[in-house]
């Protein structure tokens, strides 16, 4: 449920990050989607999942049909976590699209991958990814992520 107050949208974002961040988790693998969802829920996050980049963009209001332009000032999500290896639009492509958006570019994006490839990691971090995580994710990774998020907001 979105907060109706428009005058304190940044305050709402801060509160959400502290209490119950809304996270968009993107992964084409159904097992990993379910796993990351549970890990996040266990850390008091509200989770929306998407199975690919285009669906994620649609949810964020950045898709081909930009019907959410008017609501664009208050970000729907506090964090986006996405798999790197996805067919069609990779996690990197998705990251770029998010960073290109005036509305969404402030939302932290975390990339996950089962492969530890330094050039890949650097590429993502340079493009503005907040963090890069190696799969399979553990509860401790999510805890670390939340700490990192809270620190970078202050």
């Amino acid at each position: 449920m979105e907060s109706g107050s428009s005058s304190s949208s940044s305050k709402v974002l801060m509160e959400n990050i502290v209490d119950q961040p809304h996270v968009l988790a993107v992964d084409d693998n159904v097992i990993d989607r379910k796993l990351v969802e549970k890990l996040l829920q266990n850390s008091s996050c509200r989770v929306t999942t998407a199975e690919n980049g285009p669906r994620a963009l649609e949810f964020l209001g950045l898709g081909d049909h930009r019907h959410n332009a008017l609501e664009g000032n208050v970000s729907k999500v506090n964090l986006i976590i996405t798999d790197y290896c996805m067919p069609g639009m990779t996690g990197y492509d998705l990251l770029k699209k998010i960073k290109e958006s005036s509305v969404m570019k402030e939302v932290p994006v975390v990339i996950m991958s089962s492969e530890n490839v330094p050039t890949r990691i650097n590429k993502c971090l340079e493009e503005g990814a907040q963090m890069f995580m190696i799969k399979p994710l553990k509860q401790s990774d999510i805890k670390r992520l939340r700490c990192h998020l809270m620190n970078s907001r202050s």
Binding site: N29, V30, I31, K34, K135, Q139
Partner: protein, 160 residues
């Protein structure tokens, strides 16, 4: 079998699935040794709570449903001429990711073998490696089914 006995069986089976050292007092459990990565599988179990008491079983069910689809794709790709190794690698990458997420180390190791043959463009090698993947996959399924059944029995016994 009373509740305590059932719970002991569940615990023993679980540790046999995970640990490298078989429990000598239960010879049938020797077959189960080392199928699952301790860290990962225990992590899955840690995610179970009152809201999702059967989370692990749900994930495993989902895994087998999804792997059926991927196996079908792999089989088709292995039959086609010429063999599309990029496609094969793709499908196997997907499957391997899932095995890693549930901690199925033996299955994952066979996936790694498959990948080697794929990279080398060796279709016959891929086909052989795939047979091994399927074998380990089936063996694990049987063990897990027994494990979950025992677990349910132990759980049911608690409510009596």
């Amino acid at each position: 079998m009373d509740r305590n006995q059932l719970q002991r069986q569940v615990a023993l089976m679980r540790s046999s699935l995970i640990e490298q050292v078989p429990n000598p007092s239960l010879p049938s459990l020797k077959l189960l040794v080392g199928y699952l990565d301790e860290q990962q599988f225990l992590q899955l179990e840690d995610l179970q709570d009152d809201v999702n008491p059967n989370f692990v079983e749900e994930i495993v069910t989902l895994f087998y449903k999804d792997s059926a689809r991927l196996f079908h794709n792999i089989e088709q790709a292995l039959k086609s001429r010429p063999v599309d190794f990029a496609k094969l690698d793709n499908y196997m990458h997907q499957f391997r990711g899932s095995t890693s997420s549930i901690g199925a180390i033996k299955v994952k190791n066979e996936c790694n073998q498959f990948k080697e043959f794929c990279l080398a463009g060796n279709a016959e090698g891929c086909a052989r490696a795939f047979q091994k993947v399927k074998q380990e996959h089936e063996t694990l399924r049987t063990q897990l089914e027994t494990y979950f059944k025992l677990r349910r029995q132990a759980g049911l016994a608690e409510t009596v």
